[in-house]
Symmetry: C2
Amino acid sequence: MHPYLIDWRDRRKGKALCVALPANVEEVSRTMKVAAEEGQPVFPLGGNTGLCYGGVPESPADDKPGIVISLQRMKQIREFDAAANIVTVDAGVILADLHEKSKPYKRQFPLYLGSEGSAQIGGLISTNAGGTGVVKYGPMRDLVCGIEVVLADGRILSDLEGLKKNNTGYDLKHLFIGAEGTLGIVTGAALRLHPENTNDAHAWVSVDSPETAVRLFTEFQDKCGPYIEAFELVSGTEIDAVVRHIDRIRVPFDTVPDWSLMIELTATDPSVDLNGIFEEVLGENLENGSVLDAFIASNAQQAEQIWHVRHSVTEANKLEGMGLVHDVAVRVSKVPAFIARAKEVTAEKFPMATPLLVNHLGDGNVHYILMFPHDYWNQLSDPEQVMHDVQSCVHDIAASFGGTFSAEHGVGRKLTDELERLCDPLRYELMIGIKKSLDPENRMNPGVLFRNLTTGC
Amino acid sequence: MHPYLIDWRDRRKGKALCVALPANVEEVSRTMKVAAEEGQPVFPLGGNTGLCYGGVPESPADDKPGIVISLQRMKQIREFDAAANIVTVDAGVILADLHEKSKPYKRQFPLYLGSEGSAQIGGLISTNAGGTGVVKYGPMRDLVCGIEVVLADGRILSDLEGLKKNNTGYDLKHLFIGAEGTLGIVTGAALRLHPENTNDAHAWVSVDSPETAVRLFTEFQDKCGPYIEAFELVSGTEIDAVVRHIDRIRVPFDTVPDWSLMIELTATDPSVDLNGIFEEVLGENLENGSVLDAFIASNAQQAEQIWHVRHSVTEANKLEGMGLVHDVAVRVSKVPAFIARAKEVTAEKFPMATPLLVNHLGDGNVHYILMFPHDYWNQLSDPEQVMHDVQSCVHDIAASFGGTFSAEHGVGRKLTDELERLCDPLRYELMIGIKKSLDPENRMNPGVLFRNLTTGC
């Protein structure tokens, strides 16, 4: 049972009575009914790629360790409807497989993230996954048009038609999306497909400040909003780390820019002159001095060079030191002020740490990473406390700008304290009311999202 | 009080203890607290443009007639954030005013519907309004990024940051969107703005069948999905009615087509050759014979001619006879089969009626109108019963294709029987659970959505 009890980074291990591997929704339903009869908690498990321990089974009651339900055997792609642009899938389908199987239909399912070779659709729905495509296609929430869920009592709630318009009462699917398995188990989904892109362009732009980056984002939005596929802002400190640790990195400028914008434009129409758009917008800004330099990829290899840098961030940071990653978001217009304030405060409170910034700028999502040298970190007497202090500090600054402490990673078991601390108390109370309404015995992934609910909430 | 008690077509009149006209959210909150203390129902009222009597106050208890809360004085546009593409507004802002006030920022709020001169943002949110822009921008649900709501007990739930990413528990705003005032009163919202279009093209296409129309929709989606602003399919019977009753109608073909597609493409980028896309896609289909004829507007006046026809439908139908309108939706791929089946069944059951079809094809939304001659209708002994029979018949056919009986008009007080009859019983049960969780005394717009809840549900 071991692999079903640990988180993928092997940092936290739970326990369970048993692991169920149902092959279809009826088997999930029967398992849930047994769990209900026995009063056992249920821990849904997808691809186990979460970052907040939402997939680790930890029962609140020692005598009821609970059942892990893994969706891994539910891998059917049930139906492709290319005219309606809807694909209906089992929850256990792996994201990369769905990408692959959409190609013959000339469609894409535009959710792109690092763990796509393991992450399953059900988990991606339950955590409202994000990634690099959010600026163009939205998060998972915007890509789900219908779901099938097994409730705590084993009953099946299913609406997989995926109607674009349906105004007949409350839209329940949005409750389950992002609920991290606390309201039911997602067993199937109707997902929105998009046409394949046949046209793309890539640029690496050196800008003088986050303010300029936001202004450029607005200019690109006005000019060609629907073409923006990625709009990433990376600090020079982060690029330096990548250059230090990763092979085959080529920076197309004389020096590493203080602020790098990495931009991808895509279109379904091959006749759109995307490079022309780059030249027009960037040209004007080169003239007025806010863009310091710009590199527009002239072939696929050059494009790959740009994104190789961006995709090497995680690996480089592991080698660089002890990086404390934060996943905050503010309005895109507030990103520059947030960054300035966070740098100021953390420089004062944690002078040993260097801030590395990787931002999905188009979403206002700032991965604010405080990088401590290994030597310094290893001699700390209470590293957990420092981690906690840094986290509270960064989250508080985000909150002071109206931002969130978890943009795309979720809450899981890791951030339940932060949810209780930072969430509007009224919203927290309403969420618990909904939890009680749908799972009165608190058997669905107990301990995730809410810290203090006892069984039989 | 009269104008606050009737529906705008003067078909149904309610009653109330009084009408409150709060000027801000605090006044709404205080009013709600008084209502809570007195055990009075509350009936929120926006622009009173609904089609299902959701704004008519009808208390379930004779001794508690309830309070109408009109949002009409709450007209502030609180903040424009052009960089974040968010506008924050009071719920009483009228849609057309928001359109007007977005122009200086070169932004659009892309919700377009007939009643935009009266409809208010709060009502549009509470009914998840649709209209002609849904195919490109989604319904109101997709345009709301934050809301402020006053709950039944007078407490204010507010999140107007409108973060693009925020994974910290259940997304409560989606419960209130489309809830038709049964869970709380929407008093403010953060809304998503889009860049203005600077480029548009218009075509009227004669096609041989709904099947061809769907195939063309797919071709346009693949070629230029993000440009499709409107994709309307209208039957020849409907165009005939418009030609008969409305002035200045010009049909650019020798005869009225059996099936007319009216298509608008728009782009923010003025350099995109939208007419070229029309010529390319339509040219191929003219050659293979599925497109019978096509008219591409070569100037604004010709474009206006096309849309004048589409926008004259309601007025023409009033003069034509007694038209029973249905607002059903199925998957776009199922529209042709639904239309064929509906025509077959209604021809047999209601031979005196002519089906007129006006479809937001891109959304799978079919306004299936059965037109009875005035003479015939006026001699019916029980027209209510016929209306009811026709409605059940059309709704049942939609349901047999997995469709909905209310795509964009909502349920209100008009379709509560249909909701109870056609809704999945489990979904209905869960909706009532949520209603009880948020409004345990059933004081929020009682009688809307749910027929049989007694006060103190």
